[in-house]
Amino acid sequence: MTAKTLFDKIWDAHVVKEVEGGPNVLYIDRHFIHEVTSPVAFLGLKNRGLKVFRPDQTTATPDHNVPTENQHLSIVDEMSRNQVEMLRRNCEEHGITHYGLGNDGHGVVHIIGPEQGLTQPGMTIVCGDSHTSTHGAFGAVAFGIGTSEVEMVLASQCIMQPKPKKMLITVNGDLKPNVTAKDIVLYIIAKISTSGGTGHFIEFAGTAFEQLSMEGRMTVCNMSIECGARGGLIAPDEKTIEYVKGRQFAPKGEDWDKAVAYWKTLKTDEGAEFDMAYNFDAADIEPMITYGTNPGMGIKISEKIPTSEGLTGNDKVSFQKSLQYMGFSEGEAIAGKPIDYVFLGSCTNGRIEDFRSFAQYVKGKKKADNVVVWLVPGSVAVEKQIREEGLVEILEAAGFELRQPGCSACLAMNPDKVPAGKYSVSTTNRNFEGRQGPGARTLLASPLVAAACAVTGVVSLP
């Protein structure tokens, strides 16, 4: 028997058919949908006279467009309101579970899936959103798809995909203090670039990942696509099993025992081959921040912004254009740079551990006067837990306010936008030009670094 990687095991088990001279027809266990990439897909189904094939394997929530305050009121922006309403209507028509605003299960799609126990090891999971890779933290093959593919999955519970190549990224060693999952993934992307993973599906292995909690693993897998990969996964272990156990949609009784027995087989075999591999030492990683306009342009906060020395042609032009947009100069220090906004939230870092980390840091301190801070829990459940743990009192005493769940300032599709020219330290996943608003200048960082910056008003080490 040939040695197989974890990715192979899951992918191969879901191939319905290999098309001659073409892609695989891959069966999808779980389909998450949200309001932005589904309307045209549902319209397409209607035009073809089709119904949703497996509504019980489909879960919906509106997250990109929703405001993060006054969610009990009607959404002000007409187009946003329309999209959110379309989702609700489409789900009602097709019998799809819909966690709308005001529902206990509502939140950012990649946060509620794992919370509800919908995300499980060994599954194939898709959603019309590139950060679907988040679910890979459970040892699932999870990836983002386009609207036509959403239509495909709605129509047939299958998708046509060529099988990607495989990459192994190993990080061994112990993390230094204040170094978090977010720093690990920013470090990796800085090392291999935003196109380093293109064409590949990544498996993250090694003690650094084993040490992470499930939430930490989700942060890492969330950003695996920022290095161009199709997705990323981490083999399930006892932590994974403990996390899923007892959640609403987790298997129960005899089904649970069967599931666990299967999940324990989900590992890469000894001697299995990968198309590409990288090895990093956890001891080399320090708190990171991005200084440029793609997630690969990151440095340790203790370092200086690189110079264009050694770059030629278009690479050099792109680099300089990026620095110009950000208002930074080559070779200058990043620490100490004044900032205007801090955003804690998103599918990358909007979970309870992120809020605990932020609250613990700001306890007894005060928010800097010159900074606007948005604290956005990733879901209603996370918000509840923040309140139950008494974190709201700590945050309010330090001058911070908690908002309501949604994608918020990650991508400027709802009222939370960063104005042009302003600097924002954000626990999100993308710092492209205009991502958080036209002209907005985004610096990606961990919740701990965001907390430090929120208190000092400048880029700071925690």
Partner: protein, 210 residues
């Protein structure tokens, strides 16, 4: 009703056929063009596939006052055509298919680069927009041909899988899967294929009892 190679019927052709074209090209020698630039997030609120062409490269094409930015290539009258040529790592970032729609709805049928982001490439192929990947050297030659003479034409032949610089005469062969090639040549769509497979999918879902 036509039945294709895989023996299924087509209710409606979701995408236009692509066989061969000859056209001048619009050069965008910028690297890492990400999907937020191709179509900014604020335009993803549409519930129908309309108006995306107008918002292609919106924040580069128009100033904040909504007047066309004269220094952006799409606003320069000497450049036109159904071919878009981009720098390496074109289409990086989000999975938004709207990026492919915006390019297609703006009138382009081909995008050329030395490197495409995966999700964008898939989205393009699903929408009748042909991504042609060429070597960095060949890409440079295309840019310099257009710079010397903006109306230079290029010929794309899907049957032969060739891309030709009509000025220099240099031609390359590009890659495309057999399946996608047949889909594009005939205007076929993945969904018709999958829906025709319904029984096989149901069989997959319930394996035979032991």
């Amino acid at each position: 009703m036509p039945t294709g190679r895989w023996g299924f019927n087509y209710k409606n052709m979701a995408i236009d056929k692509f066989i061969k074209l000859q056209s001048p090209a619009v050069p965008l020698p910028i690297e890492n063009v990400d999907t937020d630039q191709i179509i900014p997030a604020r335009f993803l609120k549409a519930v129908e596939r309309k108006g995306f062409g107008d918002n292609l490269f919106r924040d580069w094409r128009y100033t904040s006052g909504n007047t066309p930015n004269p220094s952006f290539v799409m606003n320069k009258p000497q450049y036109s055509g159904t071919i878009l040529v981009g720098g390496k790592n074109f289409g990086s970032g989000s999975s938004r298919e709207h990026a492919a729609w915006a390019i297609y709805d703006a009138g382009f049928k081909v995008v050329v680069s030395s490197f495409f982001a995966d999700i964008f490439k898939g989205n393009a192929l699903n929408n009748g927009l042909l991504p042609v990947q060429v070597s960095p050297e060949y890409l440079e030659e295309i840019f310099s041909t257009i710079e010397k003479k903006p109306k230079s034409t290029f010929t794309v032949d899907l049957e032969k899988q060739t891309f030709t610089n009509d000025v220099t005469g240099n031609s390359i062969e590009f890659e495309i899967t057999d399946y996608k090639k047949i889909c594009l040549l005939n205007g076929y769509d993945d969904i018709d294929y999958l829906v025709a497979m319904k029984e096989q999918i149901e069989e997959f879902e319930t394996p035979p009892a032991p």
